[in-house]
């Protein structure tokens, strides 16, 4: 695991999964990125990244509930695993600044 690296976008998404907790699913994450970072992202890019992170074992997923806004389709809720947490923590050492952003995001999410 120590030899694994995360790309910039992967790291961003992983952090957001950790931050959004029970509300971490594709559309929410992409929206979060768009509003917080004023950065246009493609929905499909977020999804592909989420699946890749899941393959690597940093996050896991389960199906959540559907809402009217989604035409009744269920969400796939992602949660960070301990491996993912460890990865993020390891990154904290090198990316202190980014780590500091998480609680802020958490607050704005609340």
């Amino acid at each position: 695991m120590a030899k694994e690296y995360l790309g910039e976008f992967e790291e961003l998404v992983l952090t957001l999964v950790a931050a959004l907790q029970e509300d971490a699913y594709g559309a929410a994450i992409s929206e979060e990125i768009e509003t917080k970072f004023k950065r246009e992202v493609n929905l499909s890019a977020v999804h592909v990244t989420l699946y890749r992170l899941e393959d690597k074992g940093y996050i896991k997923s389960k199906m959540g509930g559907g809402t009217n806004e989604r035409g009744g389709r269920r969400k796939r809720i992602f949660t960070i695993t301990s491996a993912g947490m460890a990865m993020l923590r390891a990154m904290k050492e090198t990316r202190l600044e980014l780590w500091n952003m998480v609680p802020q995001l958490k607050m704005s999410g609340l």
Partner: protein, 859 residues
């Protein structure tokens, strides 16, 4: 918001377990976009977002194989498949037999195409080997030959790009004698460097030049086995053509079937060079074919220019004529792209390869359409199954997969029967094509190919039915309100498409057949029937008068003539010097075909004199005189050629004018021909026998021949057969296209038969009611037939123009060709309509004749 078409496509390609949330996210995003940007822009963004999901990161997450292997589902799937297949065994038979025949055809065609494409592949440096060819420009067009001057090959070796160069002279019949065996073989005179250019492995011995100081030859393994069985052939002595003795220096492995070069043994080029007085002359074209092997990085275009500057211009032009351009012809083109028209590569065998590949696709398509039509037409019978499955919870995707797999499975069952058929029919196919084709099961590519084509056919056939069937709404289906004949419009379209293809194939097959018939029966300007001919050698030529007198004593033999060439295919061309005939200008460097013969040759073959007379023994001067054909007179612009002077190359007079005749196949125009009296330069004897008395004549000629020419065996050929052999490609093409057309029609009608029986089944009640109301059997039959006849008529209307275009394109290749008459189209139309009515009637007549009580009673 309705489901948009991109979403539907996404559902198709997206892994099932991911689809729901992706769709949900997309919808959520869309709804938020509507608030933010308005409906219109939101829709555009939705489309864009959806399309951007078509990326490998999503598509590759489909776990095709991992999805099925739930053992129970698989078992269930097979059970259902076999149950429905057995329950409707008639339709299953039509599906499987149609696909099997289609696949078998495609396999045959692919085998044939692969064989054609693999020609010369056994040479290791295939892409570095070239043949030198020359465009000769004449006033009436450019001819392309592969003859080259003798000094070219050694000179080319001096260029830095050229690694090796060598010359080959091809001889069809060379006699090899050893002890009491004497047999004709294909031979070549060749430089020993050809072993470095081509990949011809030596089995024993050596081809070292120094060991060839005496006459030594290299023989093939086949020849070695023929003469010496298990003995060591090295050092054995052959008498070659009864003129010189040669020792065997080496044995080479037989050339493979798919080689454009063909020969059984090799004589050193030096032996030929000694007999050719112009062999060191740049202006002569008697040096044979020149081959080169280039260095790996040599640029062909640059080399062509270099050859032009270094040899063509300074050496050939000054001694010959500045109308020649040499060029390199790559080995990969020798088999398929070896035809030149007016200096441009044009047609050749590649046309056959592409044509038949297209035909293979057509036939497979026709078979797949059968499958589609029957599957969609009969969808009603499976509607309940689909409804129940959906209610129980089967998704759209899993239904699509189920039907796709059913069609792929059908395709594999068909593949089994197709392979069976291919194996049973392989001997006939090989006899037809003259090849030694077989399926090489040790080659992994074969499996890839077979699997590929089968899966492709299965998917092609199954895609539409799968999508259509799985889109049924369970509520409607289970209530029984589904429109039974959904997809009828498309089905009709497919039938029309299918039969349009059949129309094209039928008309093309008839067109090809008519053209070949035309070529074989066309009056050539002389009579090729009842003539056989054979090679004459030195002894026989010396005693020819004795031979002739003796042979003519038999009443079954009418005329005996000699010539240097076969008039059905004149090979020698000559270009005459200035002032060769009165009024010749510098521009008149026309290539005349030349024929050298004796007094009796022209009467033997029944040439017709327009003016003047034949060569006669009474005029001594005739040995310098000439006979020409009308085309020659026209190209010399002589109104009254008789008595005019002609230098070709002896100085003499034109004494006879014969009617034009075809001296090559009918692809080419009638050529101008100059005939000279040179009995001493002939090498073939033509014998015209009394029609119907061939055996008697042949026996007698054989006896006389043996007495006068004990050293050479008599190998005779018939002129009409030799003539037909010129068209063997066309004849093969005609036979194959007839076969494939019959098969295409068979498959099309199989499908029509299935549809007709289905329609009749559906309309049984209607027919019953009509019958009760007083409709006659004929009325009922025409009612059902009407629908189908309409489709066939539409196919004819669509197919005829395409067919007409294709036939015209084919016929354009022939200078002399038939004009396809209206009759061809009428025959096709009649044939198709007739079979349609018979097919449909034989299905519907059962319903029409049945007692209406039976059909109406059940509900």
């Amino acid at each position: 918001m309705g489901r948009n078409k991109w979403l539907r496509l996404l559902e198709f390609i997206c892994p099932e377990h991911l689809y729901e949330e992706i769709e949900g996210d997309l919808i959520q995003k869309f709804n938020r976009d509507v608030d933010k940007w308005g409906e219109k822009k939101a829709r555009r963004r939705l489309a864009w977002h959806t399309v951007s999901f078509f990326r490998p990161g999503i598509i590759l997450r489909n776990k095709f194989s991992l999805h099925i292997p739930s053992f129970h589902m698989l078992k269930h799937f097979f059970k259902i498949f076999f149950r429905t297949s057995l329950k409707n065994s008639g339709y299953s038979f039509i599906n499987v037999s149609g696909l099997a025949v289609g696949l078998a055809c495609s396999i045959f065609i692919i085998l044939w195409v692969m064989d054609e494409v693999s020609y010369d592949d056994f040479h290791q440096n295939k892409d570095q080997v070239y043949k030198i060819m020359a465009h000769h420009t004449f006033p009436d067009g450019t001819q392309t030959y592969d003859n080259t001057p003798g000094p070219l090959a050694p000179a080319l070796k001096g260029l830095p790009e050229v690694a090796e160069s060598g010359r080959i002279i091809f001889r069809n019949q060379v006699l090899l004698q050893n002890e009491n065996k004497s047999i004709y073989h294909k031979a070549v005179y060749a430089d020993s460097s050809i072993f470095k250019i081509f990949t011809i492995p030596l089995l024993s011995g050596t081809t070292n030049q120094s060991s060839q100081d005496n006459n030594s030859i290299v023989i093939s393994r086949k020849v070695a086995a023929l003469y010496f069985k298990d003995e060591n052939p090295i050092g054995k002595v052959f008498r070659v053509d009864n003129t010189f003795d040669a020792k065997v220096a080496a044995v080479f492995e037989d050339l493979p079937e798919n080689s454009t070069l063909e020969f059984d043994f090799i004589i050193p080029y030096r032996i030929y060079a000694k007999t050719d007085q112009y062999n060191n002359e740049w202006g002569a074209w008697s040096g044979g074919v020149t081959y080169v092997k280039l260095h790996e990085k040599a640029k062909v275009e640059a080399l062509n220019k270099k050859i032009h500057e270094a040899f063509t211009k300074p050496n050939i032009w000054v001694r010959w004529d500045p109308n020649v351009e040499l060029f390199l012809h790559p080995m990969s083109d020798w088999r398929l792209h070896n035809n030149f028209t007016n200096g441009e590569q044009h047609g050749g065998r590649i046309t056959y390869v592409t044509t038949f590949s297209i035909v293979a696709i057509f036939i497979l398509l026709i078979a797949c359409i059968n499958f589609m039509n029957l599957a969609t037409a009969r969808s009603v019978s499976r509607a309940r199954e689909i409804g129940v499955r959906k209610v129980v919870g089967a998704g759209h995707n899993s239904l699509v997969k189920q039907f796709m797999m059913e069609s792929v499975l059908t395709a594999f069952i068909s593949l089994f029967f197709a392979l069976l058929a291919v194996h049973l029919l392989m001997p006939f196919f090989n006899e037809l094509t003259g090849k030694q084709t077989r399926i090489d099961y040790t080659n992994p590519l074969v499996y890839v190919g077979l699997l590929g084509i089968t899966v492709l056919a299965g998917l092609m056939a199954g895609s539409y039915p799968a999508v259509l069937l799985s889109s049924f709404k369970p509520v409607n289906v289970l209530k029984g309100t589904i429109a039974g004949l959904s997809g009828a419009g498309l089905r009709k379209g497919l039938v029309v498409f299918q039969f349009s293809l059949s129309v094209v194939l039928i008309i093309c097959a008839i067109g090809v057949y008519q053209q070949i018939d035309y070529m074989r029966t066309k009056n050539l300007g002389f009579n090729k029937d009842d003539v056989f001919y054979f090679r004459s050698n030195a002894d026989l030529r010396k005693n020819f008068d004795a031979f002739r007198n003796q042979v003519l004593q038999n009443p079954a033999i009418k005329v005996v003539g000699q010539s240097n060439d076969n008039p059905t295919d004149l090979l020698t061309s000559i270009v005459l010097a200035d002032n060769a005939w009165p009024g010749k200008t510098k521009e008149d460097n026309i290539a005349f075909k030349s024929l050298q013969c004796d007094y009796d040759m022209l009467p033997a073959l029944g040439f017709t004199f327009v003016d003047g007379r034949n060569f006669s023994r009474e005029f001594v001067a005739d040995s310098n005189n000439y006979i020409i054909n009308e085309e020659a007179a026209r190209s010399m612009r002589l109104e009254n050629p008789i008595g005019e002077e002609l230098v070709a190359p002896r100085k003499g007079k034109i004494i006879g004018l014969i009617k034009d005749f075809h001296s090559t196949d009918l692809k080419g125009r009638i050529a101008p021909v100059i005939i000279a009296l040179r009995p001493e330069a002939t090498n073939q004897i033509f014998i015209r026998y009394e029609a119907g008395r061939l055996e008697e004549a042949m026996e007698y000629v054989k006896d006389v021949y043996k007495k006068l020419e004990p050293n050479f065996p008599l190998e005779y050929a018939f002129m009409d057969q030799t003539f037909d052999r010129q068209y063997q490609d066309e004849i093969l093409m005609s036979k194959l296209s007839t076969c494939f057309t019959v098969i295409a029609i068979f498959i099309s009608f199989l499908g029509l038969f299935g549809l007709a029986s289905f329609t009749t089944e559906k309309r049984a009640k209607e027919i019953g009611v009509r019958k009760v109301m007083g409709a006659s059997v004929t009325e009922l039959l025409s009612l059902v037939c009407n629908d189908f006849v309409k489709l066939i008529v539409l196919s004819l209307i669509l197919g005829l123009p395409v067919a007409w275009w294709a036939v015209q394109k084919f016929l354009q290749e022939y200078e002399y060709h038939t004009e396809p008459g209206v009759s061809v189209f009428l025959i096709t139309a009649f044939l198709l309509l007739f079979i349609t009515i018979v097919t449909v009637s034989c299905q519907s007549s059962r319903a029409a004749l049945a007692n209406p009580v039976k059909t109406l009673r059940t509900e």
